[in-house]
């Protein structure tokens, strides 16, 4: 049988993250959006929760606790319920660190993982998305040419989270016919980091573009060393994480719209009494539940080590489409209040739209 009941530990994690999201994330979300930045003390406060370090093995300085993709999906949903921008920023280092834990060479683990096990927030980022039309994460245009004891990287990346402060980037690139990933330090010769990009949503996240102009890095910088790595697995994990963020945004919208509709009176009765509104809210709820089931299934496949590429792709596609639909209908439910900045739904709409393209087009 399949159980959808969280474990006691998962319930505790979820409750703790929910409290954190309500008390420490949501109250600063609008300010971050307006200012297009995230306060450093927020990143430090979320760092103190140990989201990244706890799941790094003790031998590299981490907490040594077992990693659960399902629990992590719950954490992402809760944080994104508070605010997706802050959730994406807070968990961005985990994407990099987990890739090193899972697939890094011993040297890479020894060198890089301790960076995430100190008391101070440390940023490092995945660099997957590329500018230009019809981007496919599994077929990047960025190339890695072997040269003696090094690789030479050429290409461009965009939407790299926290690129303004990341110490390292994990850059995906084509190595002949293979898909590989390479650890590139921010001071690598030939690497140009752009000014923060001006985006529709997730404005506080600070994303940058990377220009890689014949960046020469040692062969040991290839993820996994000589053995290489299964980069598709990293993409799968990233897609499940994005889906969980989109689920969290959708729940935030529904949670905001239901009491609004019960409170907002038009034509002598709350608008929740109007079937057009009630049916819409009901459909939004159904979609939110469907998203959660897909996210949990994909996360469960990841956790069990099953082939998850198809499920992750379907999940991301569904969540991208439906989170946009839910946030759009949130605006519709609020009417004029939906697109003014006194209410958060317009911000969530922009965030959902941006999350939907963070790894390129769904159609690819």
């Amino acid at each position: 049988m399949i159980s959808f009941g969280p474990t006691e530990e998962q319930e505790m994690v979820r409750d703790a993250m929910r409290d954190f999201a309500e008390q420490a994330v949501r109250p600063i979300a609008r300010e971050c959006d307006e200012a297009s930045e995230i306060p450093a003390d927020f990143l430090q406060s979320v760092w103190d929760l140990g989201l990244t370090s706890t799941q790094i093995p003790e031998s590299y300085g981490g907490g040594g606790e077992e990693r659960s993709s399902v629990t992590n999906a719950m954490i992402l949903e809760e944080l994104a319920f508070g605010d997706a921008t802050l959730a994406a920023a807070a968990t961005s280092p985990s994407g990099f660190a987990n890739a090193i834990v899972d697939q890094g060479s011993e040297d890479q683990k020894k060198t890089l993982l301790p960076l995430f096990c100190t008391e101070k927030f440390h940023a490092a980022s995945l660099a997957i998305v590329e500018p230009g039309a019809i981007f496919d994460a599994s077929r990047p245009r960025t190339v890695a040419e072997p040269k003696d004891d090094s690789f030479v990287l050429s290409g461009a990346k965009t939407l790299v989270p926290l690129g303004d402060r990341a110490s390292h980037f994990l850059v995906t690139a084509r190595n002949g016919d293979a898909l590989d990933a390479f650890v590139v330090a921010r001071d690598a010769e030939g690497l140009t980091i752009s000014e923060p990009e001006l985006n529709l949503g997730l404005k506080g996240l600070i994303t940058v573009g990377l220009e890689l102009e014949r960046v020469e890095i040692p062969k040991t910088a290839r993820l996994g060393g000589d053995a290489g790595a299964d980069v598709r697995r990293i993409l799968d994990g990233s897609r499940v994480a994005l889906s969980a963020l989109m689920l969290g945004v959708s729940r935030a919208v529904l949670d905001y719209c239901v009491p609004y509709a019960k409170d907002r009176v038009a034509f002598d009765e709350p608008i929740s009494k109007k079937q057009a509104i009630a049916f819409r809210l009901s459909d939004m709820h159904i979609e939110q539940e469907a998203m959660r089931l897909m996210v949990w299934k994909a996360a469960s496949h990841l956790e069990k080590g099953l082939d998850v590429s198809r499920v992750a792709h379907l999940t991301r596609g569904y969540c991208a489409e439906k989170s946009l639909w839910v946030t759009d209908n949130g605006i519709q439910t609020l009417g004029g209040h939906g697109f003014i900045r006194e209410h958060p739904v317009e911000m969530w709409f922009r965030n959902a739209r941006t999350l939907g393209v963070l790894e390129g087009l769904i159609a690819v």
Binding site: M12, V13, A16, D19, L51, T54, E65
Partner: protein, 257 residues
């Protein structure tokens, strides 16, 4: 140093509460519970002592049914070292004195240097247990505490008085302080803390294990009900002077002054 923190698990502040079928309490099935908010400040105060002195042991104690385990695990996830769970049908939901008797038995067994409790509970609101507990184990106590400072042989506390005044009291250890909300910024349980919590011990005991008998409540609740809604409110309108004048008239009319 050993600090004992008394916790109560109460219905979550967002829980929708319905009265049970015989009208004597709320329906507890299918509602969410959490640690009494006052007690979270007491726990935080104890954890701050532990932060400053790693040799400090923080022991959390709670009375209640199986579900209380989750509250204790949360406290362990926040940083407490171990827990005592008094799982005893008679003691759970008993009156303040019997609850204090059970906690006193735990305190005698643990011999803590400090006992921290919340000022009151979100459900019962009696504030009676902390001073009763102190009296039963014959230690000095202070209520409504906003700040604590542990020294070698004593605990200096700042108590909240009426009108915003603060009273500073120094209590020789062992002693008890009931902590007011807002005394500190309560920490969140970290992911690492939660995952480590499952490895920390919870000692489950009955009242008999603690050598306490006759702990069933001596007080009975006749009726629990929501205040009836009525439409007798008068909304005064007009200028400030008119509203004040109207209010004075109403007060005189009702003869309450």
């Amino acid at each position: 140093m050993k600090v004992m923190v008394c916790l109560k698990q109460v219905p979550h502040q967002d829980a929708k509460l319905d009265i049970n079928s015989d009208g004597t309490w709320i329906q507890e099935d299918n509602i969410k519970f959490e640690i009494n908010s006052y007690d979270t400040y007491a726990l935080e105060e104890a954890l701050r002592i532990k932060d400053a002195d790693a040799d400090t042991e923080v022991v959390v104690v709670s009375i209640g049914p199986d579900r209380v385990t989750q509250a204790l695990r949360t406290a362990l996830g926040m940083g407490a070292d171990r827990a005592v769970h008094v799982n005893d049908a008679e003691a759970f939901g008993s009156d303040a004195l019997c609850v204090a008797k059970v906690l006193a038995a735990v305190a005698k067994a643990e011999s803590p240097d400090l006992i921290f409790t919340g000022l009151m509970t979100d459900d019962g609101n009696s504030s009676a247990v902390p001073p009763m507990l102190a009296e039963l184990i014959d230690v000095p106590s202070a209520t409504g505490v906003l700040h604590t400072e542990a020294a070698n042989g004593s605990l200096k506390v700042e108590r909240e008085l009426e009108g915003g005044a603060i009273e500073v009291v120094e209590l020789p250890k062992p002693c008890l302080a009931s902590i007011q909300t807002g005394a500190n910024q309560v920490r969140y349980a970290s992911l690492k803390g939660i995952m480590q919590a499952k490895k920390k011990p919870i000692d489950v005991k009955t009242a008999a294990d603690l050598g306490v008998s006759d702990v069933a409540s001596k007080a009975t609740i006749d009726k629990v009900y929501s205040p009836p809604k009525n439409a007798t409110a008068d909304i005064l309108s007009g200028s400030t002077d008119e509203i004040v004048s109207g209010l004075m008239g109403k007060i005189k009319e009702l003869g309450v002054l």
